[in-house]
């Protein structure tokens, strides 16, 4: 009987736990502190006003990974697995709540529509830009450059525009192109997929993956230009750029 009782108590406790609503603080002092914390911990990627940069804009009513306040607190606390979003290592629980409250307030700011025509942008992507030679969307296209399937989710329109006209300024973290030359004379140029002290894995532009023991490698050449992507400055008109950005910004969900 005791066991049964204990068991049902645990279930009740669990149920209560999941139903617990997070209450975000809303005093003026909390919001001011939340904004300060945002500037220190979040603004580097999400922009000083939450408008987005390397990280997505937070000026929207619905955040994909944070449909409710409890999820938002969890995202700030733990980060998002498989993305560049880290967890808050140096914030107390209360500070996380204050930051979450500030982030929620951003959702009430009216969202600026992205200018341009996404349909025309898609056409430029396929034709004049020939972006698909190196980038893929939903599995279609090349593998030399980063996948763009959900790029509109991850990057702000301003950041996307910058990375088209000045690719060197916007190389994603961990994206390194290099040439590995083995002691046997084999040379492979491509994207570094993984590397540790003892081995290196490279994927070439055709999509083949190679793995080398470093003891078998004669040298690893890293070109000075971090990105092999050409700049489209002057290649695309201002209007074409605007349309292309509008298209990329519309790529949000995996089809």
């Amino acid at each position: 009987m005791k066991i049964v009782f204990l068991f049902s108590f645990v279930i009740a406790a669990l149920a209560a736990d999941t139903e617990t609503k997070v209450k975000l603080p809303n005093s003026r002092a909390d919001m001011i502190h939340g904004e300060k914390l945002f500037q220190v911990h979040c603004a580097r990627c999400h922009g000083p006003k939450g408008e987005g940069s390397r990280g997505p804009t937070l000026i929207r009513a619905r955040l994909i990974h944070a449909p409710d306040d409890a999820a938002l607190v969890a995202v700030i606390d733990d980060g998002i697995r498989g993305t560049e979003m880290p967890g808050a290592e140096a914030m107390s629980h209360h500070e996380i709540l204050q930051t979450a409250a500030f982030v929620r307030s951003l959702g009430k700011v009216p969202q600026q529509p992205v200018p341009g025509d996404p349909a025309r942008g898609a056409e430029i992507y396929r034709t004049k830009g020939n972006c698909g030679a190196c980038h893929s969307i939903s599995g279609e296209g090349g593998v030399a450059g980063p996948d763009l399937t959900q790029i509109g989710e991850a990057r702000s329109p301003a950041y996307l525009r910058e990375s088209i006209v000045d690719p060197q300024a916007a190389v994603p973290e961990g994206y390194v192109r290099l040439t590995v030359v083995s002691k046997a004379g084999r040379s492979v140029t491509g994207v570094r997929v993984n590397e540790d002290s003892f081995s290196i894995q490279v994927r070439d532009d055709s999509g083949r993956s190679f793995s080398f023991w470093k003891s078998d490698v004669a040298r690893v050449d890293k070109p000075q230009n971090k990105s092999p992507m050409p700049s489209f400055r002057g290649q695309l008109s201002d209007l074409e750029l605007t349309d292309l950005v509008a298209y990329l910004a519309s790529l949000k969900e995996r089809k």
Binding site: S92, D196, S197, F198
Partner: protein, 530 residues
Amino acid sequence: MKVLIWLSAPVVLLAQVLLAQISVPYERIRDANKEPGNWLTYSRDYTGQRYSPLDQIDTGNVSKLRISWMHQVNELDTLETSPLVVDGTMFITAPPNMVEAIDAATGRTLWTYQKEIPRDLRLCCGRVNRGLAILGQTVYYASIDAHLIALDARTGTVRWDVTMADYKTGYSSTGAPLAVKDKIITGMAGGEFGVRGFIDAYDAKTGKRAWRFNTIPVKGEAGNESWTGESWKTGSATSWVTGVFDPETNTVYWGTGNPGPDWNGDSRSGDNLYSDCLIALDADTGARKWHFQYTPHDVNDWDSTQTPMLIEGLVEGQPRKMVVLANRNGFYYALDRINGKFITGRPYVKQTWASGLDEAGRPMRLPDSEPSVEGKLIWPSLGGGSNWYSSAYDAKTGNYYVNVKEMAGIYHKGEADYKPGAFFNGGGQHDYKGEEPYGAVRALDGGTGQMRWEYKLRFPSHAGLMTTAGGLVFGSNGSSFFALDARKGDLLWRFEAGGAIIANPISFMSAGKQYVVIAAGHALLVFALD
């Protein structure tokens, strides 16, 4: 139900046979070299050298090292435990709140203790734990909520449980306690919360506190004048890594952490004693014999808590008893362990904050080398030239092996308002992208700190080293566990463990076979020759 009982019965029987034998009086730890097959205290013996006298696995056969067994823990936090091994039984901690006894030959669990811990812990760096102490028939565990707990080594049942400090004001505990004679000595953590640090000793039998050394002196005590105003009350100086003991002089050596707030020293002008110090304490009374401060008025979060090492060596032809340490601030130090006087020191990684050490070993800080609002680029990073994880020492070669980080940080100074239990940092650090950081295992001359060889690592590593009589240095990088030739630093063996390694290796012997152990991710990996 019946089947279950039948299945578990032989396991229980085996456990009783193993555990009934366990008894580790103080003399066994003191004379640890008489039983090289066991690992009875955090660093194996009181010197802190993390040296195993076992030589079955050597430079000639280490390439045949294979997994013998693996023990997975049903928790998501990363293991940082350094196991103890006593006569065929292994004791480990698993985060966030577990202690386990394991059959060292098979990896089967013998008992598990799990502490209930509060959900509102105040932690800077995860719910980690680095190991245990054993004395007599009792295992001692410092839990994340700043309790010290004595467990029956045979069953895991609680003998006593004392609260060292209030976790709600930022105190926690992550290090392995140290059993010395009839006492259990332990440090505490919380240096990012403006706590006031201490080193405690408890009566091993009763759990009654025998002494407390407050790492920040109160008003009226010597050293308090090194803090302005009331800043000493929130000055941190924690003690979160295990110290060492010299039975000959009855002295405990224990390191202390950063002053608080970490990166803004404006409110705490002065040297801020005894932060970033090595402190020599009388083991019976906790009375301070001497202290040596590595980084006076630290503003870079360069804790000096890592396990110091007691070594003997010739200095200018004279035999000296030394205590040595590769400090987080980038300098290697050798001190006279009898009087605490500086013998020698030199940088062992790139550092840009001091022009050197003066005759007394005090760093000569360069102008404009403190954190600023805009950010100040300084080597080493806040992770330091090395960190809490253990270095290793081989008395035969005089080599001090250290896992180093060649890495800079951009240090920011910010505001700091003290609120009990809240972060009290006064700034932070951003990564510096201008120069690719790397790591290395370096062999230094133990007496001088001069480098003898290095083995470069692609990424800075956050894991400890062990050296063995087989001429090997075991270390880790990312999720790789490897063995180097101790004489030259050549790579002899590596294993991809598949989980992040943030732990110290150990070695033990069971049924005539040498084993090497490392925690990786959520598992404990145990290796032996084919």
